[in-house]
């Protein structure tokens, strides 16, 4: 599809419009219901955080899928989430929960796990399935270590167990700067990377003959997505599948692989998925069984989608 200036402006503005309108609506509804003070502020930030986190995770998914030319991956599959969680628990045990410190350590942990996954995958064969297998191995390793540490972490940080599934219960004002940083980092970087990622989708050599440095592009995309996803893990815990599902829905809807439009539409879809999952948790599950973390709800719906992709590939004899 031709992405002229009007189309580019429209699609790029979509996630911003979506976030702004939903937050404004939340504020209006709360005001209309006479909800004020701390509760209104909490609901506002919770809405804002689900939307920005969903957008950032979806963009990170687009970056990772394009840069590694692999439709089966996101930060969760590649072990970034579990690596970040492990670093978070370690920091909480050795030091304490301070947003800045845990965000930094989670970013380092997430990037370290990503590097490990890439190294192992490249040693296996470098194929897309090798990345999934390597990611599963690294995720399992850090998930196991995180589970072990969680017992100690719980004694120092009471919400440590929530981090295992991803929840927006802790939507406090002080987290705004970190969530916004993760969102802005991915959203702004897509303007720089999207055309380069389009070239990278066609192969490293193809990208190089177009004047795109494949290694530099891959490095920037990986660091951006790894850091953003890790920071979000340090705040809200592991949220899987948003990053894998949103880019696919975006490509199916737009019938193109052009990241200039796929990325912002995926960001809008990712925001919607997390917002709906969190709203579902609050409105439907809370009265029945208590609040189920949004990450668990996303996984319940995301896992079948992921399995569907694998089955589709298997049927075509490409696994």
């Amino acid at each position: 599809m031709l992405v002229n200036r009007k189309a580019l402006f429209f699609f790029s503005a979509l996630p911003l419009i979506m976030i702004t309108c939903t937050c404004a609506l939340t504020h209006v509804v709360n005001t209309g219901q006479g909800v004020g003070g701390y509760l209104a502020e909490y609901r506002f930030y919770r809405t804002l955080y689900t939307l920005m986190a969903g957008s950032a995770l979806a963009i990170a998914g687009c970056f990772l899928q394009s840069t590694l030319r692999n439709p089966l991956i996101d930060h969760y599959i590649l072990g970034v989430g579990s690596g970040a969680l492990f670093a978070l628990y370690l920091t909480v045990i050795l030091y304490e929960y301070r947003p800045l410190i845990v965000a930094l350590s989670a970013a380092m942990g997430g990037l370290f796990a990503l590097a490990l996954t890439v190294i192992v995958a490249e040693r296996i064969s470098g194929s897309d399935v090798a990345y999934v297998l390597s990611g599963i191995g690294i995720t399992s390793l850090f998930s196991g270590l995180s589970a072990l540490l969680s017992y100690y972490a719980l004694t120092r940080y009471p919400y440590a167990s929530l981090m295992l599934v991803g929840s927006f219960i802790l939507a406090t004002r002080d987290k705004l700067v970190y969530v916004a940083a993760a969102f802005i980092l991915t959203y702004a970087t897509h303007f720089v990377l999207s055309r380069r990622l389009n070239a990278l989708l066609l192969g490293d050599e193809y990208a190089a003959q177009l004047g795109v440095n494949p290694k530099l592009t891959r490095l920037v995309a990986s660091i951006t997505s790894g850091t953003s996803a890790s920071v979000l893990v340090s705040l809200f815990g592991l949220i899987g599948f948003t990053g894998i599902v949103a880019p696919h829905i975006s490509r199916l809807l737009l019938r193109t692989s052009d990241n200039r439009v796929v990325v912002p539409v995926a960001a809008t879809i990712g925001a919607s998925i997390l917002y709906v999952a969190d709203a579902f948790s609050r409105a439907v599950t809370t009265p029945v069984m208590g609040e189920v973390p949004a990450g668990a709800i996303v996984s319940v719906f995301g896992a079948p989608f992921f399995l569907l992709l694998i089955v589709k590939r298997f049927k075509r004899g490409k696994l």
Binding site: L201, A208, S257
Partner: protein, 262 residues
Amino acid sequence: MISTKALRVTYRPSRIEAISDVSVEIPQRTTTCIVGPNAAGKTTLLKAIARLVEYDGAIFIEGRDISELGKALRRILAYTSHVSVNELLGVRVIDVLLTSRYPISRGLADSEEDLEGIYEVSRSLGIEHLLTRRIGELSSGELQRVVLASALVRRPRILLLDEPDSHLDVALKPWLSLYLKKLSEGSTVVLSTHDPIFAFHTCDYFIVLSHGKLLYSGPYEDLINNATFLEKAYGIGFTRVELGDRVVLLPLYSALKAHVGE
């Protein structure tokens, strides 16, 4: 004109010398063919000219060292390589062609000029009906034409084509030959091929490589009058055959039979 001086390409970490001490001059606005057996260094020579591999020696385009051309090189030169994408990423033909205009596009958005350029090239190659198709759905022949289109949408002055005739049927090969000859009126076309009939019908200038070494570089007329260069490169006999309006050198099947028998 493209010229190479003592060109040497060594692949790491195996340290295999794919090209050693190759000095050639490729004339402007001609169709030049690089021929030679497998592992002769044909693709490596094309990649070196496109600055896609590390090399020793020097390569000049229109008198300028390509290492000093920077991004300008990507605007004047196009190299076609194989496109292989994951089906689930949904890459379509139009996506490939729009992406291929990257070196000459300005800004993030596409312009009407981009679209017009793509339609013009697609029409000339007969692939306009494929524009919305996914890459994975194309036949090998269709994909080959899409790859050629991806180079042409940039309107390069130099076109480097690695086996552009592979996967094409008997009707499409002569068509491509004529298409490239017409193209060479305005640009320099350098290609590699394994098909002698296609090579001798298409090209006016030849480079013969064997085991990374240059055996011959010169015009078509000189090569067909002296089959020893091809015979030395391939290690088999060649015979002169008149095919239509061109004389071609074809491998001697009788000699091959004896060779296989041994």
